[in-house]
């Protein structure tokens, strides 16, 4: 969020000032952090956190070693059977592949389009507030509304998209019926829906670049393109890193828009069925909770690997 970007900025710019202030009225601070009352204020959150996050995490992990069923009270410990089974389950690999493909297909436009939009708005067009609002507005819509709108746009026989294609003399596209288009349509919906968030991150980063840098560059005779490639883009590197990390994680979570767009069917030929939908279907539609837990933990492991790799890459780049 923009909060993340600005937090970084304030931490860097205002760090020393904060320390100084803390020293000045340290007395008042100590009573909060050292006094007996502190833990009690944290307790309500810790309880909720433990009950609804930590405990389910541990419980789910335990469940992945059993054959727990949603509809029968008995569950037996099966060791690593579930994990062995998922390794040879073609649907696990297929849906995982779809999720990874979606992550690649969606992250690229979600970063590039957001950057271009932010640059355009930042060039100082009139009515900036309007563009900011217009680009961000879809992000505020609930996913079901977004998909409902797009279902009608995608409609093959009388949808707007195919009508527009018809006006320019192109044939209709099976947006939600052609197996080759199925995932692209989800990408399209997702880009329209969430690009505003990355746009906002970029815009706030752009606004944080001091005008003096550009002034100096202009004095040295740098034109607009030169300023873009030599000043703006290099200074946006940190934000780009952040946007990419957040976007990859968000795209790996693909479930809701694909699930609603295809009514839970996975799309034509199942080409838009992400791994999280397979987890949901296995656990809640087919009642096999133990196996579903195993799949989600295997996927969890993969996300951790991705996150660690990404952190490594960025830290190396920075150093």
């Amino acid at each position: 969020m923009s909060a993340v970007g600005s937090a970084q900025n304030t931490a860097r710019a205002g760090g020393p000032a904060l320390v100084g202030r803390a020293g000045a009225d340290g007395g008042a601070r100590r009573s909060l952090s050292v006094g007996r009352g502190g833990p009690w204020f944290v307790l309500p959150f810790v309880l909720v956190y433990a009950a609804f996050l930590l405990w389910p995490l541990v419980y789910g992990l335990g469940m992945s070693f059993t054959d727990t069923s949603l509809v029968s009270p008995e569950a037996e410990f099966v060791g690593l059977d579930n994990y062995a089974q998922l390794a040879s389950d073609p649907l696990v690999w297929r849906t995982l592949g779809i999720t990874l493909l979606f992550t690649v297909l969606s992250t690229v436009p979600l970063v590039l389009v957001a950057l271009v939009m932010a640059l355009l708005v930042h060039t100082g067009t009139r009515g900036q507030w309007f563009w900011r609002f217009a680009y961000f507005a879809p992000f505020l819509l609930p996913v079901s509304t977004v998909v409902l709108i797009w279902q009608w746009l995608f409609q093959g026989d009388f949808g707007l998209l195919n009508a527009v294609l018809g006006w320019v003399g192109l044939g209709p596209v099976g947006w939600t019926t052609n197996p080759d288009m199925a995932l692209w349509s989800v990408v399209l919906v997702t880009v329209w829906w969430t690009v505003g968030f990355n746009f906002l991150l970029y815009l706030s980063a752009l606004q944080a670049i001091p005008a003096t840098v550009y002034e100096a560059a202009s004095l040295d005779g740098a034109d607009g393109w030169r300023r873009l490639f030599s000043i703006t883009l290099p200074l946006l590197k940190v934000t780009t890193g952040l946007v990419v990390v957040l976007q990859v994680l968000a795209s790996l979570k693909l479930f809701d828009q694909a699930y609603i767009l295809y009514g839970g069917s996975g799309g034509p030929a199942g080409n838009a069925s992400p791994i999280l939908q397979y987890v949901y279907d296995t656990g809640f539609v087919n009642y096999r909770l133990g196996y579903a837990s195993a799949i989600s933990y295997a996927f969890f492991l993969l996300i951790i690997v991705v996150a660690v790799l990404q952190a490594r890459l960025t830290s190396r780049k920075e150093s």
């Binding site: 509809v71 009270p73 009514g263 839970g264 199942g270 539609v285 087919n286």
Partner: protein, 435 residues
């Protein structure tokens, strides 16, 4: 002043806690609500026209039994509903009465619902012989009646009377002339398409439910069978499957039927006169009526063979298993179920064929047009294969929908489609049943 303030706040807090505790205790004391009424929880999944009629049925029962306090809960149809109901049953805190598709009994029939006591039913005037034989067979497991059918809803054929008149497809009495055989059906579609200038048959080629209903009807008319033994492999008549898929592909040629129409669009296209026929369940009668389309309905024809076997399901009522059964609530559940069955004439207006013979044979129902025109379908219904992942709103339906959409769009040949579906069935069976 400061002290006073603190004290008053503490006093307020104490009072609030005490008051809250008392309210909570009072809540525990009278779970059955005011006036000693029997609380009865009923779950269903009906929305739209069916939802309104269901509210009517519940209200009728409320009037009949003022001492029963019915809480009717409507949940989203499909997997979400069945997941919640299964969890509630497994947890022992299920509602007293629930709606279930008869095709879902493979999962629910074994442990999650209680059987209906025939003596209790008979005391209220309902006996098993009052239901259509094929439906009764489906809801009876090991000789025990596990679900009480409210209706049968087969795949039906809607036809636009004006389009069909222009296409010369009507008989002398103004109803659709009988269609027998694959070529006759396709020809009727072509002739209707020539009149509308668009499609002959509105068919949700991209919709899992629509494609499955037609596929399963054709497959069963061809004598096809699917047996799904635990552990696999699936026993499937592959030839019948290929032939049924080939017919679907021929039908979805872009003229007879669209290759791309989705679930909501198919009835809409029929209602707006862009097609002469519509293949879907009878509940879409409301869509056509609201649009003012000149239409009627008939039984799905025999496309293969002589008997017009047709894919159907039955909304039925079950007694979900509870950890502790309240006899008063259980008795009220019997009352309510019987009340809904005997008052199902209004339910039938929504297109469903009433299951109870006293309603299905009543002059009022027979006078309902076009609803009673396809009532004979209840005698030739074919339910989905028997497995925990099968039935209305199940994984099988949505997964088969993927394959069938490949067929209707032309992405898969019938041979590839059969391999795809059978391969998935085999894989699914190796996972072992969670039931």
């Amino acid at each position: 002043m400061m002290t006073e303030h603190v004290l008053s706040r503490r006093a307020f807090l104490r009072a609030a806690v005490a008051a809250g505790g008392i309210t909570a205790l009072a809540g525990c004391g009278s779970p059955s609500g005011g006036g000693g009424a029997v609380p009865l929880a009923y779950w269903n999944f009906f929305v739209g026209g069916d939802g309104e009629r269901m509210v009517g049925l519940v209200d009728t029962f409320r009037d009949e039994a003022p001492r029963t306090d019915v809480t009717a809960t409507t949940l989203a149809w499909g997997a979400p509903y069945y997941t919640k109901l299964a969890m509630a049953c497994a947890g022992g805190r299920a509602p007293d009465l629930a709606t279930l598709h008869a095709s879902r009994l493979a999962t629910f029939g074994k442990e999650l619902v209680d059987e209906w006591d025939l003596a209790e039913l008979e005391a209220r005037g309902v006996t098993p012989d009052q239901f259509p034989a094929p439906v009764l067979e489906r809801v009876t497991i090991d000789g025990r009646l596990m679900a009480l059918p409210l209706d049968t809803h087969p795949l039906v054929l809607f036809y636009n009377t004006e389009v069909c008149a222009q296409a010369g497809l009507l008989a002398a009495d103004g109803t659709l002339a009988p269609i027998q055989g694959a070529e006759a059906f396709l020809d009727a579609g072509r002739r209707a398409a020539a009149v509308t200038g668009a499609n002959g048959i509105a068919f949700g080629a991209a919709d899992a439910l629509a494609t499955w209903m037609v596929f399963w009807s054709l497959f069963r008319q061809l004598g096809g069978r699917i047996e799904l033994p635990e552990g696999g492999p699936a026993e499937v008549d592959r030839d019948a499957m290929v032939e049924a898929m080939a017919f679907l592909q021929t039908m979805c040629d872009g003229t007879i039927a669209s290759k791309t129409l989705d679930g909501p669009a198919a009835p809409a296209s029929f209602a707006s006169g862009q097609a002469g026929f519509l293949l879907i369940g009878p509940w879409e009668i409301v869509t056509a009526q609201n649009a003012g389309t000149p239409f009627s309905m008939t039984q799905f024809p025999a496309i293969f063979g002589d008997v017009p076997y047709v894919r159907a399901d039955s909304h039925s009522l079950v007694l979900p298993r509870q950890a502790k059964v309240d006899p008063a609530a259980r008795s009220a559940a019997y009352d309510m179920a019987v009340s809904m069955l005997t008052n199902s004439l209004d339910w039938a207006r929504g297109g469903h064929i009433p299951a109870l013979s006293s309603v299905a044979e009543s002059p009022e129902y027979l006078a309902l047009q076009p609803q009673s025109a396809y009532r004979e379908a209840a005698q030739v219904v074919e339910f989905d294969p028997d497995a925990y992942f099968s039935g209305s709103g199940s994984t099988l339906m949505s997964r088969a929908g993927q394959t069938l959409q490949g067929i209707t769009s032309g992405a898969l040949t019938p041979d590839e489609g059969a391999d795809d579906l059978i391969g998935w069935l085999d894989q699914q069976l190796t996972l072992g049943s969670p039931v």
